[in-house]
């Protein structure tokens, strides 16, 4: 916001907390993503003027929704006069009597499913979700994904145009599709979390917090769902360790982290969610990942059990990265030789992946193959995505190969 007035502060607050809710209600009513966004923008401009003069209304959200609804109707009328006709008229004709904003049900779950629709590219799903539900600006999203603002803006408008032209529905999935569609949504949330994890607090909006907000929202809108609880548990169990993750500019391995820095209540909340999810006996990839994260938080991680969980995860996600983690867990359980053989089979698929070379270096060093280990460390350091990671790897190399 431009100035810090009571009006701008109130607006900021509503948009931070309820932008998604506003948009969802408008899209549900008008069936048009772009129109909803434009109308909300109009309403915000009017609020900035009006609230400054007459004070902030009692129910800011209701005020905004009402005005945005009127703005949308204005825009449809204008579109109609400009001859883009029949469709606009149809919406106007079917437009119900203006409801009281308080009565409008929360439509955000539908909005999440639309933003994460499999007909959109994964990166577009992430961007659209952050824009519509997280309320991030296009420039914030562009920065998070190292894109230029025009490119990100284009990606977002193309997505909205496709949603409209191809009639990607604004509705909840059919029961038989729910599990798969939910997985697509949770994957988007997890991608957002990972982007935040990699970028760290460098951005002015912490994407990890954003992901946790979205996961909590899903857990509230789609309650008692094992995979949703599992995903939220996974984020909390990982995020709880953030303060201990970097020390003096270098990443710290889990085993060496100062546990006093871990967020105890957050770990407990994650563990409780995971227990609840597992009790539902509907296993899924996010619960398995959360269970692995939970085992990692114990003083002496139970490696044979972690190995078994990775084997289970492979059934859901038979990817090279999961195979890598499975092999590392095997090595930690004592099967060093088998682990190295399994890594060997992954060298083509993961050649450009830093963690692969880092893991291989560790295992080679452990098995006494010093020269090969050194080469692998060098490769890992060259591929490190942050100075903290490079510093960590250099330290490991010096410690393990001296």
């Amino acid at each position: 916001m431009i100035r810090d007035t009571p009006a701008s502060t109130a607006l900021d607050k509503v948009m931070r907390e309820d932008r998604g809710r506003c948009l969802a209600a408008l899209i549900a009513r008008f069936g048009d993503f772009q129109l909803a966004e434009d109308a909300l923008q109009d309403a915000l401009a009017e609020a900035a003027r009006h609230w400054d003069q007459s004070g902030v209304p009692d129910r800011p959200l209701g005020w905004l929704l009402k005005v945005a609804g009127r703005k949308a109707v204005d825009r449809l009328r204008r579109r109609n006069r400009e001859g883009a006709g029949a469709a606009a008229l149809a919406i106007l004709a079917s437009d119900p009597v203006e409801e009281e904003a308080e009565m409008i049900p929360d439509q955000r779950l539908r909005l999440i499913f639309t933003c994460c629709h499999p007909a959109l590219e994964p990166k577009t799903r992430v961007a659209l979700t952050l824009r519509t539900l997280g309320g991030l600006t296009t420039s914030q999203i562009a920065r998070a994904f190292l894109d230029s603002e025009p490119a990100m803006g284009q990606r977002l408008s193309r997505a909205k145009a496709k949603i409209a032209a191809a009639a990607i529905p604004f509705k909840l999935p059919e029961p038989e599709d729910l599990a798969e569609r939910l997985n697509s949504v949770l994957t988007v949330v997890y991608l957002i979390f990972n982007a935040g994890y990699t970028a760290g607090p460098a951005l002015d909006r912490d994407l990890c917090d954003e992901a946790i907000f979205l996961a909590r929202l899903l857990n509230q809108l789609q309650p008692a769902t094992a995979e949703v609880e599992g995903a939220l548990a996974l984020l909390l169990l990982t995020h709880a360790r953030r303060a201990a993750r970097v020390l003096g500019g270098a990443s710290v391995a889990l085993a060496d982290q100062d546990r006093a820095l871990w967020d105890g209540p957050m770990l407990a909340e994650g563990q409780a969610l995971l227990d609840r999810a597992v009790a539902r006996r509907r296993s899924g990839p996010f619960q398995i990942k959360a269970a692995i994260a939970a085992l990692h938080s114990q003083h002496a991680p139970d490696w044979p059990q972690i190995t078994a969980l990775y084997a289970g995860l492979l059934c859901h996600e038979p990817t090279p990265v999961v195979r890598l983690n499975h092999a590392v867990a095997l090595a930690e359980s004592g099967a060093l030789q088998e682990a190295l053989e399994r890594l060997g089979a992954l060298s083509d698929a993961l050649d450009g992946y830093q963690p692969f070379h880092a893991a291989r270096a560790e295992l080679l060093a452990r098995s006494g193959q010093t020269t090969a280990a050194l080469v692998a460390y060098e490769r890992a350091i060259a591929l490190a995505s942050s100075p903290a990671d490079a510093a960590f790897l250099t330290r490991r190399r010096n410690r393990n190969l001296s």
């Binding site: 006709g85 629709h117 007909a119 032209a165 191809a166 009639a167 990607i168 529905p169 509705k171 059919e174």
Partner: protein, 112 residues
């Protein structure tokens, strides 16, 4: 809302157009018709029969072959009338060719 489901297959990977395949397509066509979804649909002769034309500087150029030389060829289409993309994708995924080729689903432009 109408959607064009374009059936692209690689002849090298396509089972021969025998009785089994015919039966599959007949069965699908009957179902999609009975559901009131099918507006039109046809199979095309192989791409070796294709001729392309274009007009440049007022002159018609005729070229033997398809527009684009790709491994996967357009082999047929269904025109589907559906409520939304989800429904269209559901029907498209049931086209027999989806098992070994790819179905491209495109919405039809409505001129208002």
């Amino acid at each position: 809302m109408q959607y064009m489901a374009l059936i692209y297959t690689d002849p090298a990977l396509t089972p021969p157009m025998g009785k089994a395949m015919n039966d599959d397509y007949f069965a699908y066509t009957r179902r999609v018709k009975e559901a009131g979804v099918m507006k039109a649909g046809d199979a095309l002769q192989p791409v070796t029969t294709a001729t392309s034309v274009r007009v440049r500087d007022g002159k018609v150029e005729t070229i033997d072959g398809p527009f684009a030389d790709t491994k996967e060829h357009l082999g047929g289409y269904y025109l589907l009338d559906c409520a939304d993309l989800d429904e269209a994708l559901k029907w498209a995924a049931q086209i027999p060719g989806a098992k070994y080729g790819t179905i491209e689903v495109r919405p039809i432009v409505v001129f208002g």
